[in-house]
């Protein structure tokens, strides 16, 4: 999935413009030779100039590319779903990990992604549980990272305390 240089450089030009106008609003401090706006303004101008150069080069260049080029492989429904699932999994984790807990959310993500990438169901299901559990033990148990806890984690903790 490739956007051509005209699209990318136009977007960079917009970023440079927004950065410039935002930097212009930064206050200057009395008694300081260099204010906090100098660097952002300089960088925005340079980013703008470089983006314009790329834009001009792509408009005037002999090689014309479509605004968006898609590989044949990407047009298959499976590829489209796989691509969509990558950011969706991360968003799913951010949205539900705190309520459902790490183990359930990460197992679901691993299982769904493996199946989307054509792993067999009977391989994906146990692997998802194992990888998720090992990651939890490593990060929560050994590295003491406070991973989000839900009902499953609480039961496991109580069980481990009881043992």
């Amino acid at each position: 999935m490739k956007f051509n240089d005209t699209v990318i450089s136009s977007l960079l030009l917009i970023v440079a413009g927004l950065m410039y106008y935002n930097a212009k609003t930064l206050p200057s401090l009395p008694g300081q030779t260099v204010g906090p706006a100098l660097f952002p303004i300089t960088i925005s101008i340079m980013l703008g100039l470089v983006s314009m150069a790329i834009l001009l080069k792509s408009i005037t260049g002999k090689r014309k590319e479509r605004w968006l080029t898609l590989d044949n492989a990407i047009l298959s429904p499976r590829s489209l779903i796989s691509i969509f699932l990558v950011p969706a999994s991360v968003v799913f984790y951010i949205a539900f990990a705190n309520t459902a807990g790490f183990l359930i959310v990460s197992t679901v993500i691993l299982f769904v992604m493996m199946v989307a990438f054509r792993a067999k169901l009977y391989i994906a299901a146990p692997l998802a549980v194992v990888v998720s559990s090992v990651s939890f033990l490593l990060f929560r148990g050994v590295l003491l990272v406070p991973l989000p806890e839900g009902a499953v984690e609480r039961v496991l903790m109580e069980l481990s305390h009881a043992v």
């Binding site: 790329i54 590829s79 691509i83 990438f117 990060f139």
Partner: protein
């Protein structure tokens, strides 16, 4: 100090860290698409929980081993595991087709180990003397050094220098976010409290290297590697005999890799390509290149690993990263209170020399781990990516979260991952953006310090002889390629007329 160095290394934590990192690096390097840089980025959350020496040891070892391991799929599948192996993939594959896979990989392993040890020796002897010299540097000299680093960074991995420059500017723009500026004024935070401390570098890098690669795989998950060639051929002993036939090439590759690695902006892949080119042009049998000839393998195999150790010279002495790997390492050094700079050589000398010793250990441990990997090479390359990629996605999430225990960092990772995917597809390289983020705050800080201490006198940047020399060096770095191009154009037009 020697006893302190030995005590630092011979701890259970360090030994486990080195062995674990070697195995991790072997897997990361041997699976095409997973790079040594990604291995380093994924290791950062783990280093967070280790003492300084084992923390850095994991990175040194994983990278050294991963760069060699990149040769394995290159040789058996004709698909380099890391970009640093791309230069001689065809040569190694041709040897594998002849039934000499183990011989080719053995040459790669031993020359990599030698190259790494050669550059470590240079690092041990050159870095302290350079640090003694660098103590004399003021903020003006550092400012020029950072500009020099940035100038070189723009050229990394870009087929079009303009795209490299655009990515560098984008990285510098990201580095401006937050209130970590001399005035303490929040910039580009959009009212978001989590951005007051700036964009977290690690989630950003994990996203740019990890998420973008997963997206690339997702866009074409049908891509398969085919069956690897059976790892046949003679034992590793014969590889040593072949290397012994090319001592000049081995030394030349190691020396060139060391020089290239020490330059800001050039890394292992450039070193390998340059070495391969030199090897062919200086060879007595250049016609044999491309048909499974070991000469280039010896030279380029040594070059890519030697560049890894020497990239640490500017990183440790000046705090200026030579490539994206050392950019990550510098972040970890700061996290572990081993702030890079000439003072590091006096204030933290035992820990620093422990790191040097770990370079030696990493390049030696590579031999048994690599030997095992060569014998199980086809097994590693057969691990399906449909299983690996979802696991990497989970590690990306875990790694980004662990730094600050913040879900906002996971969102940062996702944003930069998606951004990097689209930019890379369009030919915009990622490495300059990373260096821009690392060097941006330094650039501003040295500029403001120089201006403030001189009372706003812009000539303070060239008034000291050392600063003027580095500024001149910078001008020549910019102007020589321009003059060269103009002369080429001039001679081309004369030829046409």
């Amino acid at each position: 100090m020697l006893s302190e160095v030995i005590a630092n290394i011979l701890t259970t934590q360090t030994i486990i860290a080195i062995i674990g990192a070697a195995i991790f690096g072997m897997f990361m390097g041997a699976i095409p698409g997973l790079t040594a840089t990604m291995a380093t980025a994924l290791l950062v959350p783990v280093t967070f929980f280790l003492d300084p020496v084992p923390a850095i040891a994991t990175m040194i070892t994983a990278v050294a081993v991963a760069i060699f391991a990149g040769d394995i799929p290159g040789c058996l599948l004709r698909m380099p595991g890391t970009p640093a192996s791309a230069a001689y993939t065809d040569e190694a594959y041709q040897m594998a087709l002849k039934g000499d896979a183990k011989k080719a990989l053995g040459i790669g392993l031993l020359s990599s180990s030698f190259g790494g040890l050669f550059a470590t020796a240079v690092l041990v002897f050159v870095a302290p003397s350079l640090a003694e010299f660098a103590v004399r540097f003021s903020s003006a000299e550092y400012f020029w050094l950072v500009v020099l680093g940035l100038s070189c960074a723009a050229g990394i991995g870009a087929s079009d220098p303009l795209k490299g420059l655009a990515m560098l500017m984008l990285g510098l723009a990201v580095s401006m976010v937050g209130m970590n500026n001399n005035a303490g004024i929040p910039r580009f935070t959009f009212g978001e409290m989590a951005l007051l401390d700036g964009v977290s570098l690690i989630p950003m890098m994990v996203g740019m290297f990890g998420i973008s690669e997963i997206l690339r795989y997702a866009s074409n998950s049908k891509r398969d590697f085919g069956d690897p060639i059976r790892s046949t051929g003679s034992a590793i002993r014969t590889s040593a005999a072949i290397i012994a036939r090319y001592p000049v090439q081995l030394l030349r590759g190691s020396a060139l890799g060391t020089v290239v690695g020490a330059l800001p902006g050039a890394g292992a892949d450039i070193a390998a390509w340059m070495s391969m080119g030199i090897s062919k042009s200086r060879s007595k049998t250049p016609a044999k290149f491309g048909s499974g000839h070991p000469e280039g393998l010896v030279e380029a195999g040594a070059a890519n690993n030697s560049s890894l150790a020497s990239a640490w010279i500017p990183a440790l002495v000046f705090g200026i990263p030579g490539d994206s790997i050392t950019a990550i390492v510098i972040g970890v050094l700061y996290m572990k209170n081993l702030n890079p700079g000439p003072e590091l050589f006096t204030t933290n000398a035992p820990q620093l020399y422990s790191l040097f010793a770990i370079f030696v250990i990493a390049n030696l441990i590579m031999i048994p781990v690599g030997w095992a990997a060569i014998h199980g090479g086809s097994f590693i390359t057969r691990i399906p990516r449909r299983i690996i990629m979802p696991c990497i996605l989970l590690f990306c999430i875990l790694g980004s979260y662990s730094i600050n225990n913040s879900t906002f960092d996971i969102a940062i990772m996702l944003f930069f991952g998606v951004l990097a995917y689209f930019l890379e597809e369009a030919g915009f390289p990622i490495a300059p953006a990373i260096l821009g983020v690392v060097l941006g705050p330094m650039l501003e800080n040295y500029f403001v310090t120089t201006m403030t201490s001189s009372g706003g006198d812009i000539f303070a940047f060239v008034s000291r002889p050392l600063a003027a020399v580095i500024a001149l060096l910078l001008v020549s770095v910019w102007s020589i390629p321009l003059i060269w191009r103009l002369r080429q154009k001039g001679s081309a037009s004369i030829t046409r007329s």
